[in-house]
Symmetry: D2
Subunit: 356 residues, 4 copies
C-alpha cells in the first residue's frame, strides 16, 4: 500500500512524472461490458487543461488519453484499464536551478528528506500534471455512476477572498472561472489580472454537489463515505481543507437547527450534506474544498539550498495564478472514484443477490 | 476492506456495539518488545469517558481495557493485540421506541437503508461508544511515537459559536472543556448550562498540534499525510470538516503570504501546518476539526417511522450537550494511529537499512 | 497488512495465543440479515477439537464460541462479527523449558529471530490452537455459501504412507480418521497406535471437494481462485504442499489427456479440478494438501538454546500423533473463507445489478 | 482489490492483453535511489522469450522493457515505476474462430461466464504473455534482494514424466530446458520432438532454490512466507501444485525424520525448505511447482460454442510443447516479488530502527 493507489473494488493507480514519457492510470475492478472510447475523455481532459481560463498561463498541454488495455471491441473487459497520456517534449533546462534549492510551498524539501533525491524537473510526481491521470480515471468512474442517475455539479464559491453572493447554476459554464455568480465572476477575473501583474497567486473555495446518489453507500466506522471523500479531496495537492454539508458552519448551529427532520417525502433540510453516520441518505451530497494559492510565484522568496545555506529564489516565466478553476474537474473526478468504489462495495453485500 | 479497519502496517480493526457484550480493537502490526500494561490505558480512557465535563451527562461508563492477546510478559510480541472493553449491563428498554422510527441526525435511517435492519439499541455500531476502542488503540500507537519525541496537544477552539481569543496551553488541563482561554472557557460553560435547560445541543471546533514529527512521513499522491489525517478525523461520527494548517483560511491568502520561507533554522512560518506535498516537513502539524452538535436532543422533532409515516420524536432522559471535550482524545487517538502507521511505512523504504 | 487478516470483502482477522485469555476472530464484511447463533458453531468446533480421534491425545479443549458483536436479534448486522473462544486455565509450567531452547520443527527459532522474543508457552501464536478461530470463521462463511448449494466434503487420502484404495464417501464419518476407505482406515489406526508407542508422529494427505460452486468465482492474474486457495491452505501451519485437480499428476499427462472436453452437459472430465484460468468453471473443485508430521515428539532431539549452545530436547507428556484428522475442518474452513470472499467480489462486478 | 495487484509494500500491478497496445507493470513501493536501466531487463526478458528452447515454437516476441516513470537520472525515485512492453503487430484473424467457441483447458469458458464477454484474441488477459510483465517486475525486486546476498537457482526437475536423476547445477544453463541432469535433458528433448509430431503437449515440475535469505521474513498466521509463495506461484496460469521443502514427501516421513535438528552451525537438514512456522529460518528456501501441459494442441478436441452446441476444435499452426522452460523465469520472478515485499515488511517492524 505504498500510496499511489486509491479505492478498494474500483481501484485507481496513477503513475508518471510531469517531465518524462507520460503519465497515466491503471484502473482495476471496473465492471465488464461498459462502453469506453477515447472520445469519452475529451471533455473532462479539456476542462482540466491549463490555459483555458483567466487564472491560467496560456501554456497548453495536449492531453489525449490512450487506452492501452482493458477494452475489447469498445467494451470494458473487467480486466485492468490502462490509460496513458503522453508528455509533450518539454525543455527541462529552466528547472535545473531546482536541482540545488527547495521552492517554498512545494514538495521539493519534503521529497528530498523522504527519498534522499527526487525528480526536480517540473515537480516530478508532486506536479499538478499528475491530476490529469485522476481526471481520466474519473471518466471511467462516471461510466458506472451516470446510468444510476448520479449527477455532478461543481463550482467556485470563493476566489482571492471574493465570495459568491448568489448561485445561478446555469451561469457556471458561462463563467471562465466556473463561478455561478456573474458579478463575483467579473470581480474575480479583475483580481486575477491584478495579481498576475504583481507576480503573486490566489486561493479559493470550491463546492461540489452530487444528486441522485442512492442511499446506503458508505461503510461504517472508518470507511465512512465522508471519510473517504475527505481523503480523496485532501489528496489533491492544493487542497488544505474539506467540509461536508454545513461543515465548519455546523460548529455554530444548535442540534435542533442542524438535525434534518425526516418527512414522508424525504429530509426537510440538508445540513448533513447527504451523509448520515457515514452513509449516503439519498439527499444531495455537498462537499467544499479549500484551495491554497499556487506556490509558484514570480516574487522573490527566501529559501535554502541542499547544503542548508540561505539563498533567494525568483521564478522566471508565466505561471497559473490560481488552481481554480482547473482543480474543479480534479475534485469531481476524485469524488466520482469514491462513489464508484462505494457503489461496488455496496453491491457486494446487498441482501438477496446472486451472481449470474 | 469492509470498513472497520484503519491503517496499513499499523492496522486497527474495531468491533462491538454500545449495547452488547463489549467493544474492542484488534491491532495488527505493532512492533514487538514494546512495554504494554493495562495501566497504560487509564488516562486516555478517563479523558474520553462521559460525565467528566460540563457538556456531558453524569452517566458513567467504566472503561477498563483488558488485553486479550499480543502481549507476553509485559512486552508486545508483534502479533495481534486485542483490547476488550466490556459494556456495562444497560437497560435497552428506553431504546425500544427506536425500533420503529428514525432519529433525525443519527444513522438510524441510513443503516436501515443500507442493511435492511440494524441494532437500534443505543446507536449500535454508530454509537459514540465505538470511539472508546479507537482511544485504546491510540494508546498503543503512542507507544511507538512517544520514544521518537512526537508530542500531542489538542484543545477546544470554539464551542457554540464562542471562539477562543488567546491560547494558554497551560490552562488546557485546568479547563473542564480543554479550552486554552480561561475567559472563553467560562463563557462556554455558561452556554452549556443554558442550552442544557433548553434541551438542545452544541457543536464546536477542535485543534490538534503535533510537535516533534520527523520529516518524511506521508506517501505521495493518494496516501498523503494530510489525506490520511483527513480521513482519520472525518471518520469520527460528529466531525463534518477538517483542515490542515491555514486550512480554509489559506483560500484567502496570497501565495507570497501562504508560502513558508525556508531558512537554515527551519521554516520561517507554518501556514502549511507541517505538511508539504503530503509529507511531513518537521514543523508542528496543525489540524482542526469541525464538530457538529450532538443529534440527540430533548426537543421534539419531526421524523418518520419504518413504514414511512410521519411521527414525532421526543427523547427522554439526560444527554450530552456537546461532543466536546470528550471527542478530543478520540481525535488525538486517530492522529496517533495515522502517524504510527506512516512511521512504519517510512521505515520500510528508508535507504540503507537491513533487517537485523 | 501485517499478516493476521485474510480476505478482501469477507475479511477474517484472527487473534490470540494458546496460553492467555482466549483466541478469536473478527469477521468484517459479512452481509447483513443472516441468521447466526452460538449453536451454529458446535459441530465444526467439535470436529476440530483434539482428543476425538485415534491420532489425538485425550486432552480436551472446551471450545465454546461466544459472539461478542455483529449479531442483533439473531441476525448479522453487516458490522464486524467478533467470535471469542476462551482458553482454559492451563498450566504453563511445563513450557518453561521452552524459554531457553528452540524446538526443532516449530516456530520457536524463527519467531525469536523475527521478533527478538516470543510467547513460548504452548507455541503462542503459532500454536494449532489458533486454527480454532479459523474454524469458527468458516462457520460464518458457510452461512453465505450453503444457501447457494455449495457443499463441502473432505477426507484423509493418505496417512503415514498408507494410501486409500477406494473412496466410499458414506464411510468418511464412520472412520475416526475421516478416511473413506474402511481397510485403509483400520491400517492407519494400527499404525498410529504403533507410532504412539515409539514416541514419534505421522503426516498425511487430505483432499477436499467442493460441489455446487457457480462458475465465475476468482479474479484474473494474481487473485486466481486457485492462488487464493493455495495461500489459504498453505497458511495452515502443518501444510507443506497444495495441489488443485490433477495437481502434480498433471505434470505427467499430455495436453490431450489433461484438457477437459466441453460438452453441452458440462465438462466431460475434471482434470482441472473445477478451476480454469483461475476462475471456477462450475465443476467440483478438488484440492489436496500435504500435511507434515507433528513436530512435537517424545523422542530425544538435538537443538540449541538461545545462546546458541547445543542441547538435547526430550518432550514429556502425551501429544497428538498426526494433525489428521483434526486439520480437516481447518482446511475446509479456509476454503469456505476463500469462496465466500470471492463470491462477494463477483457480486460486486456482475453486470446489470443495482443496490436496493 | 480486484486481482491484478500483488504484494503489500512492494506492490506490482500488471496490465495489458496479448493482442493490443502492449503489456506492462506498475511497481509501487520500490525504495528510492536504486539504479535501474533498460539494460537491466535484457537477460530476464530473453530467458522468458518463447522460441529459444526445444519446447517452444520459433515465433519470436521482441520484449524490450520501456521505463515510463519512477526513475530519475538512472535511480529509482520511490514513486511508481511503470514498465511497458509493446506488443508487436499481430494478425488477430486466426483467432476469430475463438469468438464463437471455447478452447478446452483455456480460460475462454470461465472468462465468458464471469464477464459476459472477453478478449478472445490470443487469450487476452489469460495469455502467457502477461507473464512478461511479471518477469520485468521481478527484475526490480531483484534489485532489492541482490545486495542482501539473496540468490536464486531454478531448474527443471521433471518433464513429460522424465525425472532428473542427478543435479549438476553447472549444467543448468547448458541445457536448453534448464535441466541439471545431462542425460535427462537429452531424453526430454527427444520426447518434445516426438510429441511435437503428434500435435500434443507436455507438463513437468520445476524447482526453485533461494539461498542467502535472512531469517525473519514472513508474517505469522495468514501471510506466512510459504502461503504467499504458494499464492505467487499458483497465480501463474500453468501451475496446478506447489510444495515447500519436502512438500508432499513430508506426508510420508515421521516427525523424527522430518524435524530438522538445530546445531550451533545451523540446521542439520532442510526438510522444512527454509521456512518454519511461515518465517524464513536462514536455510535455503526450496519450492517446487507442478506445471500442466500446454492446453493449446493441434489434436482435434470436443467443445461447445457460445450457444452451448457441441463442436470440434482443431488448432492450426505451431505451438509451444511445454511451458517449461520459459515458465522458470516467471516462477523466479514471482518468488522475488514475494521476498522483496516481505523484506520491506520486516524492515518496518524491526526493533530499534528510526527513519533517517
Amino acid at each position: 500500500m505504498p500510496g499511489n493507489s486509491f479505492g478498494t473494488l474500483f481501484r485507481v493507480t496513477t503513475f508518471g512524472e510531469s517531465h518524462g514519457y507520460g503519465i497515466g492510470a491503471v484502473i482495476d475492478g471496473c465492471p465488464p461490458r461498459i462502453s469506453l472510447q477515447p472520445e469519452d475523455f475529451y471533455a473532462a481532459m479539456a476542462a482540466r487543461r491549463p490555459g483555458e481560463s483567466p487564472s491560467d498561463t496560456p501554456r497548453r498541454e495536449k492531453d489525449t488519453v490512450k487506452i492501452l488495455s482493458g477494452v475489447f471491441k469498445g467494451l470494458t473487459t473487467g480486466t485492468p484499464i490502462t490509460l496513458l497520456i503522453l508528455n509533450r517534449d518539454v525543455n527541462s533546462r529552466p528547472y535545473e536551478i531546482l536541482s540545488t534549492l527547495f521552492r517554498p510551498g512545494h514538495g521539493d524539501y519534503t521529497y528530498f528528506k523522504k527519498y534522499g533525491h527526487f525528480d526536480y524537473t517540473g515537480g516530478g510526481r508532486a506536479s499538478a500534471r499528475e491530476t490529469a491521470a485522476r481526471v481520466a480515471a474519473g471518466v471511467v468512474a462516471d461510466k458506472i455512476l451516470y446510468p444510476l442517475g448520479i449527477e455532478f455539479t461543481a463550482f467556485t464559491v470563493e476566489l482571492g477572498g471574493i465570495r459568491i453572493k448568489k448561485i445561478d447554476l446555469d451561469y457556471i459554464n458561462k463563467s471562465p472561472l466556473l463561478c455561478p455568480d456573474p458579478d463575483a465572476s467579473e470581480e474575480m477575473i479583475d483580481l486575477i489580472s491584478k495579481v498576475r501583474q504583481e507576480g503573486d497567486s490566489l486561493g479559493g473555495i470550491v463546492e461540489a454537489r452530487i444528486s441522485g446518489c442512492p442511499p446506503g453507500l458508505g461503510e461504517p466506522v472508518f470507511d465512512k463515505l465522508e471519510a473517504d471523500l475527505a481523503k480523496a479531496v485532501m489528496s489533491i495537492g492544493a487542497v488544505k481543507g474539506v467540509e461536508i454539508g454545513e461543515g465548519f458552519g455546523a460548529a455554530r448551529l444548535r442540534g435542533s437547527e442542524n438535525n434534518d427532520s425526516i418527512t414522508p417525502d424525504g429530509f426537510a433540510s440538508n445540513h448533513a450534506g447527504g451523509i448520515l453516520a457515514g452513509i449516503s441518505n439519498g439527499e444531495t451530497i455537498v462537499i467544499r474544498a479549500a484551495v491554497k494559492p499556487i506556490p509558484t510565484i514570480r516574487l522573490e522568496q527566501d529559501t535554502i539550498n541542499r547544503e542548508g545555506q540561505p539563498t533567494k529564489l525568483k521564478m522566471q516565466g508565466r505561471y497559473d495564478i490560481s488552481a481554480i478553476p482547473r482543480i474543479i474537474p480534479v475534485i469531481t473526478a476524485m469524488i466520482k472514484i469514491v462513489l464508484a468504489d462505494h457503489y461496488l462495495r455496496q453491491r457486494a453485500i446487498m441482501t438477496g443477490t446472486k451472481p449470474a
